[in-house]
Every structure is written in C-alpha cells, then in structure tokens.
Amino acid sequence: MTSITKPPVRHPSLPKNALGLTKREYEGAMSTLCAGCGHDSVTAALVQALWELDLPPHRAAKMSGIGCSSKTTAYFLRQSHGFNGVHGRMPSLATGANAANKDLAYIGISGDGDSLSIGLGQLCHAIRRNVNMLYVLENNGVYGLTKGQFSASADVGSKSKRGEANVQPPIDPVLLALSLGATFVARSFSGDKTQLVPILKAAMRHNGFAMIDVISPCVSFNDHETSTKSYRYTRNHYHDIAPVDFVPLRREISAEIPDKSLVTVTMHDGSVVRFRKVDSEYDPRDRDAAYAYVRARQAKGEVVTGLLHIDENAADMHGVSGTVDTPLVELPYEELCPGSGALAELMEEYR
C-alpha cells in the first residue's frame, strides 16, 4: 500500500527477504481510499506479513468482491494476479480457482457489506468447504462507497453520522465462523499492526479457511463519537486474549520455553504459532470455549481480539474430496482423456 507516488528507484539499503525482495516489491498501486482509512493499515500489515513470509508474489492470487475493502487488492502485490469480481461473490471465485490450482496462496479481502449481507451465503459455504485461503474481513460497520448506510455488523444503538441509531442486531463474523466450524478464526484491529502481522502470517500458513475479522474504522462515515466501530471506541474496549508469535518452519526453535501460560500449535507445514500469556481458562484449540469466551466478554462490552481459534487437524477442500496432489491445471490432457478405445468399450453398454 502506498498513499503517495513513489519513485521507481529503490534505496540500496532497503532490507531484503530470503527471496532478495524488498517490501516495496510487495506493494501495489496507489491507494484511492480516504486518508486515514483503516483498510490502508490492513494493507500495510499484509505487505509486511507477506514480505516476512518470503512469499513469491506471483504465486499469490488476490481475490475480492465489491466495496472499499475489495478495492485494496490492487494496493499490494502488484506482480500477482488479482480478481475483483462481483459483490459478495468472491468466495465462489476463490473456491473455483482453488479447485483448479491448489498450489497458489489465495488472499481474499472482503468487507462487512460484501461478506455479511450480499455475500453471507457464499462466506458460510466457503467456511463449510474449508477452502484453503486467507479471508480478511475489513469490518467498519458501514457502507462507505454508497456513503454511510449501516451494514449488518453495526451494533444496536450505534449511531450513524446523521444521528440515526441502528436497531437491528449485528451479525458477528467471529461467532458465525466459530459456529460454522471454521478452522482458523481471529479478530484484530487495523490500528494494531503488532498484533495483526503475526496473525496474518499464521493465517497464510494455515491449511484451510483462515478468517480474520479486522475492525477497520471508516474515517469518513463511521469514526464519530457515537459509533461503536470507531478508532476510539475500539481502542477503549479492546481485549487481546494473547499476543501471538508466528515461527516459520525454517527458523529453528532452539528450546521450549518452560512457561505454563504458553500454548503452541504446530501448523500444517511445520511452522509454529505460540500464544503468550494466555488467560488460564482460554485454549484457542477449543472451539466451544472460544465461542463462550467471546460471548462473555461481549456482554461486558469488550471486543475480544487475537487468534481466537485454530484447528490444524481438519482437512481442507481438496483433502476432503481426495483430489490428486498435482494441481488440476497442471495435469496433462493425455491423463484426462480416456481415448477412443475406452469410448468404444463404453458404447457397448448403450446397446
């Protein structure tokens, strides 16, 4: 992400990752979002996370629907293929693309309008199928591009800029994902890059559907005093369950830290997620406990954040359906066509 046009020349001292790429090579076009938009911070965190993960940019596929959040796929990974589809239907495009080529890193960016209203069905079914992808839901409680209507994530009583109070109960994407059996559920805040980057990294390495609900305030239509999706409100009601460390596979873990409050989860590829200073009653591997915990804290007016649930044992869409290890797009035609002999044999059954 960038909000100003930068010269194409790179400073020679910019740090490089294992692929020899600087962070600049993970950026994209100039953002056209409003100055101060939470979504731009999410994009910056993504750039940081993908750079740190040494992801070859062209091996990623950026998927999005329609809305402010969906525009952001143009603002990072300029060398990747991106697909800005139709409103609320990004999950089906990602599902089809993933079915065809399971070896790409699918990065889905959506918003609360895109995901929780028009696209609610597709989101639910992508979770159900455990499509292997990152799904970032940039949540601001408001329709920005159409100038300020409430979205389905707006809290009851939260007031619009014009002073109108929302009366319908919100759909909480975290509770939704937990109840649907999502295998990776997190909530974060665009204003907390320290928390967001390791969560994004762990999500990218998760083998399955990784949903991150990121509270990402809309500075133009929903950042006022009476909004519950503002920077100020979120900061004041923020409760981080446990700071997360993401340890990629290639870095040796020298010794186990003898700390009772430490929970470690080994990822599909051997990387490790460490939860530090977890509340004694909280275990991110326990879905029901995570659900109850989020609900209990919500009742107290707190926004629980962090990597709330992770299940590394579930099979993704391909694992469940038993497709071949080679991506389907790479299978040579000769392996797909049964040929004239098989057809002649088959025809005998229709006589």
């Binding site: 293929h81 697909f83 800005n84 069905g121 299978l331």
Partner: protein, 624 residues
C-alpha cells in the same frame, strides 16, 4: 426419401403407457424400449413425467419407425391405461381404430368406453396379488407383467427380454425369477385370450448396428470428460441434474489415479447457481476447463456472473438444459424458452456464444467444441439443450473419438513467452481478431494483472475514461464477430443440390430437428418445394442470413410462445421479422411432425400458395 407413413403397420406404430409415478414403471418401460432397439428396429422413447416423487401421473411413449423417424408421434395406436386418474385423457389419445389395454382386475370403468377402439383387459393386479408376496413387490412386478403382455401383443422377442433380465439381475437370482414369472403372467394371458400379435407389431430388422441408446445429459457429460474438463460446479435442478451425475460416474471410472485412488477432477455441489457460476469462472480464470449444468432459473441467477466473465474475458462452459418457463414453470416439461435471454444475458452490452445440439450425439461433440471455443475466445459458451434431448434416451449414431484431438487452449502466454515480451498487457489485441492473450495466475512475475469487472483499459487498469473504455468494449464486439465465422455452421437440407432455392425455407433449432426432418419429408412428398436450415450456433454464421434472404417464404419452427429464434434472427441478420412466419409449439411436450406440417400449411394458405391435400390434421399452431 422414405414414403412418409401414418403409422399402424409393421415396425411403424406408437404406443403409450400411463402409470403413476414412483411405482417402478420406468424400468419396465426402458426394458420395452431397449428390447425393441435390440431387435434392430428404430425406436424412440419419450418419458412424460411429473415434478414429483410419488403419486402423480406419468406416461411413457414409444414410437417404432422402420424409416428411422424419431420425433414424438401425434397419435398413438395403443394405450396401456394403468392410472385411473388419467383414464379420460388416455382413452382420448388412442387413434380411431386403435387399442386400449387396461387392468381388468377391476370392472371396466365407464370412462374407458369409447366407440371405434378395441378394448383389451388383462387382470395384471389380480395376477400379481396371486403370484407375489408383499405390496411393494406386487406393485413393481405389475409393471413387468404389462411388459409381458405387450411382448405378446406386439411380438417383442422374448429371447431378447430374457437376455436383458439376466443382464440386469445377474446377481439377484430371486429377483430374476420373480421378473420372469411376471413377464410370463402378462405374456401367457395375452396369448390365451387375444389374437396375438396385433395388426401392427414388430419384426426383426438390422437397422441399429451402428447406433446406441443414450440421453443427451450423459452424452454432454462424456463430452466434458473427453474435452479434459477438470472442474464442475453445479446446483441441482431439473432437468440438468443428470448431466453432473453422469460426469461424476464417468470420472469415477476414467479419472481416478490407479495408484493413489485420488481424483483427477473436482466436482463441487454449490450452494446456489450464483456460486456455481462463480466457481466455474474462478476455475476458468485459474486455467482449468470448467463447466456447470443448469436450467432456466439457474441461468437467470447466473446472469450477473456471466456479464463478469464476458467483460473480464474468462472461459467457462454453461450447459442449459431448457425446461418450460417462465419462473418455475413446468420443470419436467421441455421448451426452448431461453434463447433470447442467453444470447444477451446480463446487464450492459453483452453477447454470448451459444451452441444448439439437436440430439445426444451432438451434445457430445458440441460439448467438446464448446470447451475449445470458450478458451479460444475467452468468453462464456453456452450449450443449449433441453429436457427432451437431455433426459430421454435417443437412438443415435455410436459416438466416435479421434485420438489426435488436442484441446484448443487459446492464446495463453507461459513464462517463456512472457520472457520475450517487453510488457504484458492483458487486453491488447495484437492479432486484430479481437482476441487478446491471457496469462494464468502463478505463471511468472511478468504475467500478473488485475482482473476487474469495473471499467478497464487495454492494460487491465481501472478507467473512467470514455475512449479507453470504448476501446475495450469495441474489441469485445469484434471478438464476437470473429466467433460467428468459427462457430459450427448451420446444417442445410436443400431440395435441389446445386439448383435454386426452394419455395419454402424452414428454419429451426435444437430438439425440433427430428420433427422438422420428418415434416420436410412429408411436405416434399405432398409436392411442396422445401429447403431446411438448422441453426447450430449463435452468433449466427453469415450463411444464416443468406438462407433467409434467398427464400421468399421462411418458417421458423421453435418451441416457445414468442418466436424467440425468429426475433433473434431479425435482430442479428437485419432481415425484417415479418419476412419469417413462426411455427410454434410450447405446451411442454416434444415437437411432433404433424405440428410442423400443419403450421407450415396454414402459413402457405395465408400466402395464397396452391392448396394440396393436407396430411393428418393437427391443432394449428401458427402465428405470425
């Protein structure tokens, strides 16, 4: 040209069986049809069934035609009336001089009494109660019993029936015995009580050596397998469901890795048709040959995504197995009601390639062609079939495969090709044919681009600039013009090869073909001069316009209320709509030759063309 006949002769008649759905009559009916086929006699079977699982009327119509006519018959020579709820309708369907067979376990119902037909009673129900145990078995075997009676009355080869039963129940001895008993019940009773065979009956022929019995949905699915399709996404909907189910069966047979037992295909049952279309497009974007199968309601739902695929230029094959609309309509009846909506599906300026198979064999070949066209032109391609083609077993030529076939993947730049160019621009028309080269995700850092349904320029960059926008959409229009010269050409049946055009030009499409072919024979036999063109693809090839222009009197035969093909022809060729007369049939049943003949003759009378003695009368269905 065979002498067109009015039926009711040896190997030239039709019969119909009226039963209640969910009682197991389907297997008896297909047994009859297949036995006749194996006797080497051309045969057609049409299943007229309800949108229901159990308890509503269902019919099966079988036509036997030594001349190979496969259209649905207008009248039948024999009705087997086993559903009291439809007695009145069934007895009326018998031609005068024909026969009615009913279950005489109960007294003859007054409804069934009609002058001019012969009524035959056989106590199927009572015989089955006496011979079998349990309600379910009795009900199921009653069907086999009527098959046995028909075998006697029509002289179906009992050896063939025996052979088929043995094939079917090879692993279930008790079922095999029960079926044989049931067949014999009907067969023996008919022989003992009636003069067998009836005046119209079967005699072995040798006409089916290079033919098969196959439904269009299975054929289309097989085409998808042979074309190398790897991703199928769908939402169940009548009458398209069996296409995906057939794809699954063929894949389980041909696409399982022998060593690992893993699948070389992905079949996703989507949450709705919107998602199914999205998955097809996502997979097409990623480089797979992908497809869905649906019907009218699904087409409506997919329309948003179709516009996206058109504008962003992504391949995908969409099988539309048309059923009777509008809205839910009659899901188990056939129609050609989606022609106009498919041609320009989705908002904004759009136009789509569509192929129109006329029978199951063509479903197979056009399915393969659809996958080539969709990748070559990087745009959605529709294969527009219908319930009659898709779900009924048709006699058609044995499918053949040319092993030298290789998929046309269109212009796709790989990493090597990208290395040699300065800059990749996704929508740059280098060759002047309207088709720009694409790249697949994951190929190379030089191949990345941003696919967007929003306004874009030739570099795939967002734009709100009029000229940059128009440059792209104008090229899309050019691309479809190129397509019109490449899509399957119409099929012509002209009266005078090399001579001038005939007086009458008939134009038709898809599943009407069988009836039109028969009607053309009849009209010519009656002294009319007739040429026939079957349109096989949209956008129309230039020869379509030439055909219309060269015939002073054109009749457009199709199965919808509003003459959609005629409208489409008028829009696309510029020929005035009034230059073409519609012959329409849209009640939901497969078209009959009678309807075509009467429609054309009605039109001829209006134009003052000379009167000829008409063939059998039918309900006039002409409108102009």
């Amino acid at each position: 040209m065979p002498q067109p006949s009015n039926g009711a002769g040896v190997n030239d008649f039709a019969f119909k069986i009226g039963t209640v759905n969910g009682t197991g009559s389907a297997s008896a009916n297909s047994l009859l049809m297949q036995a006749i086929f194996r006797m080497g006699i051309p045969v057609t079977g049409k299943n007229v069934f309800p949108s229901n699982i159990q308890g509503l009327p269902t019919w099966y119509e079988i036509r036997v035609s030594k001349d190979g006519y496969t259209a649905r018959p207008e009248h039948v020579d024999l009705v087997v009336a086993l559903n009291t709820a439809t007695y009145a309708k069934d007895v009326a369907a018998v031609r005068t001089g024909g026969y009615l067979l009913y279950d005489s376990s109960w007294p003859l119902d007054d409804t069934l009494i009609r002058e001019g037909i012969t009524i035959l009673g056989i106590p199927f129900g009572r015989m089955c109660v006496e011979s079998f145990q349990g309600d379910r078995e009795r009900t199921l075997l009653r069907n086999i019993a009527y098959a046995g009676a028909l075998a006697a009355l029509l002289e179906i080869d009992m050896d063939v029936i025996g052979e088929m039963l043995r094939e079917k129940f090879s692993k279930k001895k008790s079922l095999l015995d029960a079926n044989f008993t049931a067949i014999k019940l009907g067969y023996d009773y008919a022989r003992a009580n009636y003069t067998c065979p009836l005046p119209f009956h079967l005699e072995k022929m040798d006409a089916n050596k290079d033919s098969i019995l196959l439904d269009g949905n299975s054929a289309a699915a097989l085409g998808a397998v042979y074309a190398g399709a790897t991703v199928g996404a769908w939402y169940p909907i009548t009458p398209s469901t069996s296409l995906m189910e057939a794809f699954k069966e063929y894949c389980e047979r041909f696409r399982i890795d022998p060593a690992t037992k893993q699948r070389k295909y992905a079949l996703i049952q989507a949450e709705d048709e919107l998602a199914a279309a999205g998955m097809v497009i996502g997979a097409g974007w990623a480089g797979a040959r992908s497809f869905t199968s649906t019907a009218g309601p699904g087409i409506s739902l997919m329309s948003e995504f179709i516009g996206l695929a058109y504008y962003t230029e992504i391949p995908g094959v969409f099988f539309d197995i048309q059923r009777t609309g509008p809205s839910t309509g009659m899901p188990t009846r056939t129609q050609q009601g989606d022609l106009l909506s498919i041609a320009y599906l989705s908002h904004g300026d759009t136009k789509h390639i569509a192929l129109f198979p006329a029978n199951p064999a063509e479903c197979f070949y056009l399915a393969v062609e659809a996958f080539d066209l969709t990748e070559r032109f990087q745009t959605p391609v529709f294969v527009v079939s219908d319930l009659d083609i898709g779900m009924n077993d048709w006699m058609c030529p044995t499918l053949k495969w040319d092993d030298s076939y290789r998929p046309d993947r269109g212009k796709v730049l790989d990493a090597h090709a990208l290395e040699r160019i300065q800059r990749f621009s996704r929508y740059f028309d280098i060759d002047g044919d309207g088709i720009a080269a694409r790249t697949l995700p994951g190929t190379s850092p030089k191949g990345g681009y941003f696919t967007r349904g929003s306004g874009h320029d030739k570099h795939a960059i967002y734009t709100e600039d009029s000229d940059a926008y128009m440059e792209v959409v104008d090229r899309l229009a050019r691309k479809l013009v190129t397509a019109s010269t490449v899509v399957p050409a119409p099929e012509f049946h002209v009266q005078n090869d090399g001579g001038g055009a005939a007086d009458i030009g008939i134009i038709s499409i898809g599943g009407c073909h069988a009836a039109v072919l028969e009607a053309v024979d009849r009209l010519r036999h009656d002294g009319r001069s007739v040429d026939y063109m079957r349109v096989r693809a949209f956008p129309f090839a230039p020869s379509v316009r030439e055909f219309i222009e060269s015939h002073s009197r054109c009749y457009v035969v199709e199965q919808n209320r509003d003459g959609q093909l005629r409208t489409l022809l008028a829009i696309e060729t510029g020929v005035a709509r009034d230059r073409m007369t519609s012959v329409l049939d849209y009640g939901g049943l497969p078209l009959t030759a009678d309807r075509v003949v009467s429609g054309v003759l009605a039109g001829e009378r209006q134009t003052g063309a000379p009167e000829y003695p008409s063939v059998r009368s039918a309900v006039p269905t002409m409108s102009s």
